[in-house]
């Protein structure tokens, strides 16, 4: 069962889920995250949306900021963030399985 906080990040286009998925591959700064997300999902996050989601994820403790490199600040996913990501992806996998099964019966 997912906790109530993680429900809000359950949709595939949700910036929070995309950011967590991107950071699961290693720490990145804002622009690198945007490029990575485009590469693996096709969704292009704009800076306002990206930083809105980063703020919320950081406050929840799912990601954390690393020391700034010049003006850019990389972020990395925390253990709590990895758990949240895993929960959400498992839920999505269950939904995908059920959806595909039902589609196959049509």
């Amino acid at each position: 069962m997912m906790n109530p906080e993680s429900v809000s990040a359950g949709h595939y286009s949700d910036p929070g889920l995309l950011i967590l998925s991107s950071l699961a591959a290693g720490p990145k700064h804002g622009y690198a995250m945007m490029e990575d997300i485009v590469a693996f999902s096709g969704a292009r996050l704009e800076p306002g949306t990206l930083y809105g989601a980063l703020t919320r994820l950081e406050r929840r403790g799912w990601i954390e900021a690393l020391p700034a490199e010049e003006r850019r600040r990389p972020y990395r996913i925390t253990a709590a963030g990895l758990n949240a990501l895993q929960e959400q992806l498992q839920t999505m996998r269950a939904i995908v399985t059920v959806g595909l099964d039902r589609l196959a019966k049509i």
Binding site: P47, L50, Y51, E58, R59, A68, R72
Partner: protein, 296 residues
């Protein structure tokens, strides 16, 4: 694009502005980016976390903001007064002198202004001495964002003293208002562009308080005599201005002149008050511990 970031709340900017600007420099800006930034700013404004007074910022940011308010609000008030009310004020000078309450109000306001300016000067000179001592003691401080510009630092910090000398020389000069306008500039530049300790920043709030009191009193004084003369007919006002050798706006426009001056002064005084309040709130124990740390 930098100006769009100004729509975000100060607490948000204190934490994310630099990295956001670095990202925008690499990003391909489209109309979607503009819309997205405005939406993000609104989102952050509605976020209770960023609506708190201090958020991620340290006390130094709030204190510097209070100083930066004076950097332009005080000169703007003086210049606005000169633009709107100078002639009108002089036209009613004789009339004002015959009313004891208004005369006393005017005297009190001028005394506060003189006191504020004097403390500004003394503060500037004291800061200059402090910095020179620190420089001689090899505690070299950098000009914020300007590298090791020693000569500029010296010039900026010694300027209040030079200004003070000129203001003494210009006491009876028609340039006095401009000199008064110029006085806070060196101090404000010194505070904003040099690395100074919180102790100095806090101490420097006191001349600002005095000057704010002068601004508020001047506003009240203008409102009082403005209310007293409001029912005076235009021909009488113009005759009084003529007898004092002053030029005021034609016809009934002198009322617009009066209202414009009051609104302008109220806006500058109100803005300064808000910034000063934030500067003083920065002393709160909860605010002084936040120094750029990340929220959890």
């Amino acid at each position: 694009m930098r100006w769009l970031i100004l729509f975000y709340p100060p607490a948000w900017r204190g934490r994310y502005q630099e990295e956001m600007l670095a990202l925008l420099e690499q990003h391909n800006i489209t109309w979607r980016t503009w819309f997205d930034l405005l939406r993000g700013a609104l989102d952050a404004r509605l976020d209770p976390h960023f609506r708190t007074q201090c958020g991620y910022q340290d006390a130094g940011v709030q204190l510097r903001r209070a100083h930066s308010a004076f950097f332009w609000a005080f000169p703007a008030l003086i210049l606005g007064y000169m633009f709107f009310l100078d002639g009108l004020d002089d036209a009613f000078y004789t009339w004002n002198q015959t009313h004891a309450a208004i005369r006393q109000f005017k005297t009190g306001s001028e005394f506060l202004l003189a006191l504020g300016v004097a403390v500004f000067l003394l503060m500037g000179i004291w800061l200059a001495i402090l910095f020179v001592r620190e420089l001689l003691g090899s505690k070299v401080r950098k000009v914020r964002g300007g590298g090791r510009m020693r000569s500029l630092r010296y010039a900026v910090l010694l300027a209040p003293g030079v200004c003070g000398l000129y203001s003494v020389r210009a006491i009876l000069s028609p340039l006095l208002p401009l000199i008064i306008v110029a006085i806070p500039f060196p101090l404000a530049v010194g505070i904003l562009h040099c690395e100074v300790s919180h102790r100095v920043l806090r101490f420097a709030l006191f001349p600002l308080c005095l000057t704010f009191a002068a601004m508020a009193t001047q506003l009240l004084y203008t409102a009082v005599w403005g209310g007293a003369i409001w029912n005076t007919s235009a021909p009488v006002v113009h005759r009084m201005a003529l007898s004092e050798g002053r030029c005021i706006w034609p016809g009934e426009l002198w009322r617009l002149q009066l209202i414009g001056g009051c609104v302008w002064m109220a806006a500058m005084t109100g803005y300064t008050f808000l910034r000063l309040k934030q500067g003083f709130l920065a002393f709160r124990p909860a605010a002084s511990l936040t120094g750029g740390s990340h929220a959890r």
